[in-house]
């Protein structure tokens, strides 16, 4: 087994073990703006996330949390500003000393260490569980089939689905599907894992089993996580930092205990009061 990120290795907790640029800027948004028509969603947003850091994005509906994650996943392009990951621009590359729009192959290369789990799971319904998890390792990373299958079985066992390898997604509960999606994401050995309200489509009991799996992953890996969630207890347990968004700007950026115990901003206080804790 290669790599530093076996989910079941020794607990490394918060300590980032992978080399990064040293400035806590593994992911960096610089003056990013995004608008849809006349709706300015992000306005000159700058922030960064260190390697191995787990950061929760909170804020009212429409404040731009999903937009940020989707831009990091390259599902959306910023209108202006730059996003970089591990020192490399996501949407730009240097050519002849100039910063130009990145080619598809540049984007593919930088994106290869980023993956995302979606609210609606988005498993491939035409593939059995095992192949959902091995598809990318085999056809993107070029792993041999049997090696990819071994690893996929480990990951599926880790999320408690070692018995469901041959099921189709439609034969699983929502919670099970989401756990497969998490295994599928981990199978590509990501440095960055994006989680957008991954339990919002689930009943509370099913949400709890998914959150337990994520807690486990947070405890046992050093993958950098950006998460959007309304499960505040979970956010408090796993994150190093919480960013409070309002109208496309960060209005508060603090460790979870502080953020949840003594929110400074009036907007944060009212937001936190309004959130129903799912866990």
């Amino acid at each position: 087994m290669e790599g530093t990120k076996e989910p079941m290795t020794e607990a490394t907790s918060a300590a980032p073990v992978r080399a990064h640029d040293g400035n806590g800027e593994f992911i960096k948004f610089a003056e990013v703006s995004k608008r849809f028509g006349s709706n300015v969603v992000l306005d000159d947003l700058s922030f960064s996330v260190g390697a191995g850091e787990r950061v929760t994005l909170i804020g009212p509906s429409g404040s731009g949390k999903t937009t940020i994650l989707r831009m990091l996943m390259t599902l959306l392009r910023p209108d202006s500003g730059t996003i970089s990951v591990n020192g490399e621009y996501l949407f730009h590359e240097e050519r002849g000393g100039q910063l130009v729009t990145a080619s598809e192959s540049h984007i593919r290369r930088v994106r290869s260490k980023i993956t995302m789990v979606f609210q609606q799971f988005n498993l491939f319904p035409n593939m059995r569980v095992l192949r959902n998890v091995t598809e990318a390792p085999v056809h993107v990373l070029g792993k041999p089939k049997d090696e990819a299958a071994e690893r996929a079985k480990e990951l599926l066992a880790l999320v408690g689905l070692g018995e469901k390898l041959d099921a189709y997604p439609s034969q699983l509960s929502g919670g099970q599907q989401q756990r497969v999606a998490i295994a599928r994401a981990l199978a590509v050995d990501p440095d960055v894992l994006l989680l957008d309200e991954v339990t919002s489509a689930l009943d509370p009991e099913l949400a709890a089993e998914v959150l337990d799996v994520l807690r486990d992953i947070a405890k046992t890996t050093d993958v950098t996580m950006l998460l959007v969630t309304h499960a505040m207890k979970f956010a408090r347990d796993v994150s190093h930092r919480v960013l409070m968004f309002n109208q496309g700007k960060i209005i508060e950026d603090r460790p979870p205990e502080e953020m949840f115990n003594e929110p400074r901003h009036e907007r944060t206080q009212s937001f936190l009061r309004s959130v129903i804790d799912e866990t």
């Binding site: 996943m73 390259t74 599902l75 593919r108 994106r111 290869s112 980023i114 993956t115 995302m116 979606f118 609606q120 988005n122 498993l123 491939f124 319904p125 035409n126 593939m127 598809e135 990318a136 056809h139 993107v140 189709y168 997604p169 439609s170 599928r184 994401a185 590509v188 994006l194």
Partner: protein, 219 residues
């Protein structure tokens, strides 16, 4: 006018040869329509306008002109440009290209029916475009398309008599040869029609079997 069974019996071998020709035109024409239609559908979703727009124009143009005109063009005009196809080959190409413009619409609807989340998941896994098509999108889009595709198989088959115009020896061409000698069109035309009817019936039955076997979509 009385029906002459002996006369019918004597013409059947030739008519059945004609039916065989019609089936060849149908099978190969439809295979061409299936493959080319898929190519059209995929190219029409290309990110490159240089590909998407001309292909769209070509597809609309072909769909907007009568099959008969296309057959004439293939068989009578192309030889002037140095391309000489046999009647049957012209028929297969004509039917295949014409019906590809219909099947491409069917595929397009099937592809549009694949949720955006599937494409997004493929991006999140960094699957290359080709792999996204072959292992994620088409396996979901094609089964949805089967019922409409099998309707076009029948429609294509029923357009085979148009190949009379380019001298392909399908049943009506054969029938015409027969009554030109005997001056009795009744039996010949009727039997050619019956052969088409029975075959269309069998084809639609086969189409339903294929749909039932492969047309299930897991959601």
């Amino acid at each position: 006018m009385n029906w002459d069974w002996d006369y019918v019996g004597s013409m059947m071998p030739d008519l059945l040869d004609g039916l065989w020709t019609a089936l060849l035109a149908t099978i190969f024409g439809f295979l061409l329509a299936l493959v080319l239609g898929l190519v059209f559908a995929i190219l029409r979703r290309s990110k490159t306008a240089w590909i998407r727009v001309p292909i769209g124009f070509i597809v609309e143009f072909i769909r907007g002109t009568p099959l008969l005109v296309q057959l004439f063009f293939l068989f009578f005009v192309l030889p002037d440009f140095g391309v000489q196809l046999s009647p049957l080959a012209s028929g297969i190409v004509g039917l295949g290209v014409h019906y590809a413009t219909y099947t491409s619409e069917v595929y397009r609807a099937g592809i549009d029916g694949v949720p955006a989340g599937q494409w997004e998941a493929a991006t999140a896994l960094n699957l290359p475009a080709r792999r996204t098509w072959t292992s994620v999108v088409l396996p979901q889009a094609v089964p949805r398309s089967l019922p409409a595709l099998s309707n076009y198989l029948i429609a294509l088959f029923k357009d085979v008599p148009q190949l009379v115009a380019i001298t392909v020896a399908e049943p009506f061409t054969v029938a015409r040869g027969i009554f030109a000698d005997s001056f009795r069109p009744f039996e010949a035309i009727t039997m050619a029609g019956v052969l088409y009817l029975v075959t269309a019936f069998v084809l639609s039955y086969l189409g339903r079997i294929v749909e039932r076997r492969y047309g299930t979509v897991r959601v």
